[in-house]
């Protein structure tokens, strides 16, 4: 029982990470039709710069931790905004070229990160409490799981409030459904493009810092490996659907944890198998409308 609980909560924690990456991917795709391959690099850069700031501050304090998360968010939002303005916007509506540019950016930046920070993992230290465990019904749960879950829930709620309550949220929801009609109502939808990139980048940056605490290290490859699962999550959840991304993140991560434990480390395969099943049964994903 306690094992099940541990796996479940660890899965939720990992799912939280997937969601932080997938939410931005899904919004960007839904609104703009762009697959952002450089999303992993936003995450990695957030993690590295978060660490660079943290190591200049007192080790293990909550303030340091909080500041590094903030740095991750700001860095992620900034590079994402620049990417949209400088690389994506000039290729407006040329979707394949836009994907290619983000592919090039991801190759170039990962190489650059390797040049700057080296290929070996850099170990990070967080507040002592994160490495402790909490006893829940007999299961000893590492505390960082709770932080991850809380962060993802806050981001999810923030996004929902933003989408439901603000004019830009309205534009984004409408644009995901029918972008051309939004412009035909006199709305400059490109500003919303920049905004979703910034939001997605911020979520990825936060995810980067949190991932470095979850895994215990940063490396230039951290973004790429999470990105692949985020892709799977967005397809399973339905491209463009935030709720779908949230549900699929949890399903994928929990399945992965259980399969890794009970089925001899086959978590990654079970996830791909789940993807195959979803493709067979409902190619548009759980909550998606476009395939």
């Amino acid at each position: 029982m306690s094992t099940v609980l541990l796996l479940l909560i660890t899965g939720l924690g990992l799912g939280a990470l997937y969601f932080l990456v997938a939410s931005g991917l899904s919004l960007i795709y839904g609104l703009m039709g762009v697959l952002n391959f450089a999303h992993g690099s936003f995450l990695t850069l957030g993690a590295f710069l978060g660490w660079e700031v943290a190591r200049r501050m007192p080790d293990g304090s909550w303030l340091t931790f909080g500041v590094s998360i903030l740095v991750g968010a700001v860095v992620g939002a900034t590079v994402a905004t620049l990417t949209e303005l400088l690389l994506i916007r000039p290729l407006y509506l040329r979707h394949i070229e836009q994907v290619l540019v983000t592919v090039g950016l991801s190759l170039a930046t990962v190489a650059l990160f390797e040049g700057i920070w080296g290929v070996d993992p850099i170990y990070v230290v967080g507040p002592e409490w994160l490495n402790d465990t909490t006893d829940i019904a007999g299961a000893l749960i590492p505390n960082d799981r709770f932080v991850l879950i809380a962060a993802a829930v806050i981001v999810l709620l923030g996004l929902v409030v933003f989408l439901k309550r603000t004019r830009y949220g309205l534009i984004i929801r409408a644009g995901v459904e029918n972008r051309a009609m939004v412009t035909a109502l006199g709305v400059d939808v490109r500003r919303a493009f920049t905004l979703v990139f910034a939001i997605g980048g911020a979520a990825a940056g936060i995810g980067g810092v949190l991932a470095s605490h979850y895994f215990g290290y940063v490396s230039p490859l951290i973004g790429g490996s999470l990105l692949i699962f985020a892709f799977i999550v967005t397809v399973i959840g339905g491209l463009g659907s935030l709720t779908g991304a949230a549900i699929a993140s949890v399903v994928v991560a929990v399945l992965q944890q259980f399969a890794n434990f009970y089925l001899g480390g086959t978590g990654d395969f079970m996830v791909v198998a789940l993807l195959a099943v979803v493709l067979l049964v409902k190619p548009t994903g759980l909550l998606g409308s476009k395939a």
């Binding site: 534009i171 929801r173 409408a174 459904e177 009609m181 412009t183 035909a184 006199g186 400059d188 939808v189």
Partner: protein, 269 residues
Amino acid sequence: MNAPDPILRVAGLSASIDGQQVVEQVDFEVPATGVTAVLGRNGVGKTSTLKAVLGLISRSGVVEFDGARIDGEPTHRIVQRGIGYVPEDREVFASLTVAENLRLAERGTTPNRGMVDELFPDLIARSAQRAGSLSGGQQQMLSLARVLMNDNRLLMVDEPTKGLAPRIVTEVAAALERAAAVTPVLLVEQNLPVVRRLAHTVVVIEGGRVIHAGPAAELLDDDERTQQLLGVHSTDHGAPRGGTDHGAPKGDTDRSAPTGADESREETP
């Protein structure tokens, strides 16, 4: 002749979709008052012409709105100059509520709720309903209401009566007539009685080109000419049509068989 300047002037307009030419060297003018109807058989490029004017599909040629060239501008700028667009098939945002659809359409700081409240009380009562769950007629009203929220200098309305029951057709026509009293309208319409009721001028398109332009009454009173240009008698109400006839080859739709309005049915969402 001392005609006032037209509100919209189109000259040599061509447009293509996915590399396929759908509008070819179209010229016409929309007077600054009244309703100008664009007629033509299915698939001749009426919708594409409107989309080309708005920059929704790639186009070339001259488009002047109120004396200013707009053919190089992005869609949202063109619309902000004061054009209200009611697309074919309504294109309301199905996942948004009625109120949200209207809020999204508000352009200026002073939305013009008066006319909307007056014309569409039924819609206002359904503010919180998801637009996707409205009936076809209600969706058409919403699509119209979306543009009537703003002060426009031109309305472009694409087949507003398509697939609607006769009673709703009358309601839509009445609403359009109200709107046309203050704003010039460019109307694509297959229902000839509606055209006769609203339009002053007609432009007939065939194979992506303008083949006739002139006063509405003159064409519609000449049954033979109408039959020749539109393949339909001027007394017809327009055949009931679904939304799937777009792939039909140009001009081969035979709509000369008399079809009454009683055959048209309201679309269910």
